[in-house]
């Protein structure tokens, strides 16, 4: 019962946040200069035609009216249609201005649904890599504060966090796929294409995991229940796994919630470098083409994901540590 109240409250808050995000992005896109109709119809299209298309699409109405119409259709599960992309897949726009009928344009929801699983796969693999590298380093650092594992954690963390992801991506692509030929780099034609982008993303995430773990493990190891566990005759390994790691996983999960937007930024750049057809590449192309419905759709989907992840994180942490309140 308690949990239902919590869920209802958080979901209501989350919905409000998503609507707010949608409104901010919606307004921003309409306030800044740059006419999407001009891009759609092509530079040579006459002004009257542009005005005609814009009026037909409702782009000349006041912003609150446009937003009301938009959010009403979003509530029904329709994120609209892309300005630029036809359902067939080829890019439109540019020089020709033969008017595409609206039904032929790709639906935003379809575009996102197509790209999201690839991004999810990339993010999960990166997370696995990051945890494999960061957990041993972070835990070792936390168990020996002030000594060399701690120093190493600090140095490695600083090195990892200082590697710009786009540069690392280029260097790794040059070394691993061009010079050595171990991994494919560009595009997506199978699982192997996920590995290299995931490595780059993992390097970006690892320092935060290392830092959080070092601090929290060091803190937990000073608690009195650890000393008591020792007296109870538990082995060091048992203490570390059953007590230290379990407690340290709470700040780690919280980190995941907070760092979601950072992860998203990484995904954006990494997918751009490796031409990986996920949400990130979709976003960049949408921005460069001024594809308003697509940008809005992505913003709504990502902020909804953010809200849901944070709720999930709170549920998981309370499951691990019952002392925490909802």
């Amino acid at each position: 019962m308690f949990i239902m109240v919590f869920l209802a409250k958080r979901l209501a808050q989350g919905t409000l946040i998503v609507v707010l995000v949608a409104f901010v992005i919606f307004t921003l896109l309409r306030v800044v200069p740059g006419d999407p109709v001009r891009l759609m119809a092509g530079g040579m299209a006459p002004e009257t035609l542009i005005e005609q298309i814009a009026t037909e699409m409702g782009l000349r109405d006041p912003i609150p009216v446009q937003f009301g119409r938009y959010i009403a259709s979003v509530a029904q599960g329709d994120l609209g249609q892309s300005f630029m992309r036809p359902a067939s897949g080829a890019a439109v726009g540019g020089a020709s201005f033969d008017d595409m009928t609206r039904s032929e344009r790709a639906r935003v929801l379809d575009l996102i649904a197509e790209a999201a699983p690839k991004t999810l796969q990339l993010a999960l693999l990166a997370m696995v890599f990051a945890l494999i590298v960061a957990v041993p380093i972070g835990v070792a650092g936390g168990l020996h504060p002030g000594r060399w594992p701690d120093r190493m954690a600090l140095y490695l963390g600083s090195v990892f966090v200082s590697l710009p992801n786009f540069w690392l991506g280029i260097v790794l692509a040059l070394l691993l796929s061009v010079k050595l030929g171990w991994l494919p780099a560009i595009g997506y034609r199978g699982f192997a294409y996920t590995v290299l982008p995931a490595i780059v993303l993992a390097v970006e995430m690892a320092p935060f995991i290392i830092r959080t773990l070092t601090v929290s493990v060091a803190q937990i190891m000073r608690q009195s229940f650890i000393d008591i566990a020792r007296i109870r005759g538990l082995s060091r390994l048992q203490i570390i796994v059953r007590h230290a790691l379990k407690n340290a996983s709470v700040p780690l999960l919280n980190l995941l919630g907070v760092q979601f937007s950072m992860l998203l930024g990484g995904v954006l750049v990494v997918e751009f470098i490796f031409d990986y057809p996920g949400l990130g590449l979709l976003t960049i192309n949408a921005v460069l083409q001024r594809d308003f419905p697509l940008i809005q759709g992505i913003a709504i989907v990502t902020s909804a994901a953010f809200v849901l992840i944070n709720i999930a994180v709170d549920l998981a942490t309370t499951a691990i540590d019952p002392r925490l309140e909802y």
Binding site: V32, S158, S162, I170, L174, V215, S261, I295
Partner: protein, 302 residues
């Protein structure tokens, strides 16, 4: 963290927390390494392009694709890091890029600090409805993926340097607002604040002259790490073509241009990255040392 002993001889006059943090950070090897590397890079960035007198945008077609010193055949001492596809000197371009990167990084963090601290201070000090409103705003902003916001704005507007600083600064403040609010809320009900209020001090006076000097330093120390983060963001924007526009060299756009020549001139894309990495590394080492010093000073105090 408590195992680092903080020297506190009782006879000495009480040192401020700020100076204790500085001393503790200065005592660590990481901080000194970071500071040395950073000072060297800063001096190089300030002096070298002036001393050489080479324009970072000056083209020299005959000298194009000169490789860096000793790393491939055909290098030249005139261009220690080689030249790009238009014969522009890579070392000068990297160092000028470093200037822009640092300028944008530092200004952005200052802007973030100012906005975040102002919002957090007001929310934490007044509490109640104002707090509620400001914090909901902060939450909403935190849940907009910052990078999407930044590229949306810069993608549809013209990316100039002030625009970049504004966008990055405006999207980065919520974290500071939250930290500031929680510390101010803790301080607000303490004796000295109540005393000042009884003495007739105005709210603005309490906030600016009593609370700010106390709560700002711990936040400002951690902000050093954000300078590096913002420099990465700036170069990412440049790399995507949404940052400072060519021909002005920044790390991002130089690397993006060099990417096209990766196979026959690998140094164009990789060399500026080495500079960026060194700069970020030195800032991060200093920042990490400061953060640790701060944690141990504040941890030891409680």
């Amino acid at each position: 963290m408590s195992e680092i002993d903080i020297p506190q001889p009782p006879a000495k006059p009480v040192r401020t927390l700020t100076s204790r943090i500085w001393h503790l950070a200065w005592a660590s090897v990481e901080f000194r390494i970071g500071l040395c590397v950073f000072t060297l890079l800063l001096l190089a960035a300030l002096l070298y392009p002036e001393l050489r007198g080479i324009d970072p945008t000056a083209m020299n077609i005959r000298a194009r694709f000169t490789p860096p010193l000793l790393l491939a055949e055909g290098f030249s001492w005139a261009h220690p890091l080689g030249t790009d596809q238009l014969g522009r000197d890579m070392l000068v371009r990297s160092l000028v890029g470093l200037r822009y990167s640092l300028l944008i990084g530092v200004t952005t963090v200052v802007l973030m600090l100012v906005i975040g601290c102002a919002v957090g201070m007001v929310a934490g000090y007044y509490g109640g409805r104002i707090d509620m409103l400001l914090m909901r705003l902060t939450d909403a902003q935190l849940s907009i993926p910052m990078i999407i916001l930044a590229i949306t704005i810069l993608g549809v507007a013209r990316p100039t340097i002030p625009a970049i600083i504004l966008v990055l600064g405006l999207s980065g403040w919520p974290v500071y607002a939250r930290v500031m609010r929680s510390t101010v809320m803790a301080e607000r009900s303490k004796e000295y604040v109540r005393g000042a209020r009884v003495l007739g001090a105005s709210d603005a006076r309490i906030m600016l002259s009593l609370l700010l000097p106390l709560v700002l330093p711990p936040i400002a120390f951690v902000a050093v790490l954000d300078i590096a983060r913002m420099m990465i963001f700036e170069s990412v924007l440049g790399f995507l073509g949404l940052g400072v526009q060519p021909p002005t060299p920044t790390f991002g756009n130089v690397i993006a241009e060099g990417r096209q020549y990766l196979l026959n001139a690998w140094w164009i894309a990789t060399m500026p990255g080495v500079f960026l990495f060194l700069t970020l590394g030195s800032i991060n080492l200093m920042g990490a040392a400061l953060e640790r010093a701060r944690n141990s000073v504040y941890g030891g105090q409680r």
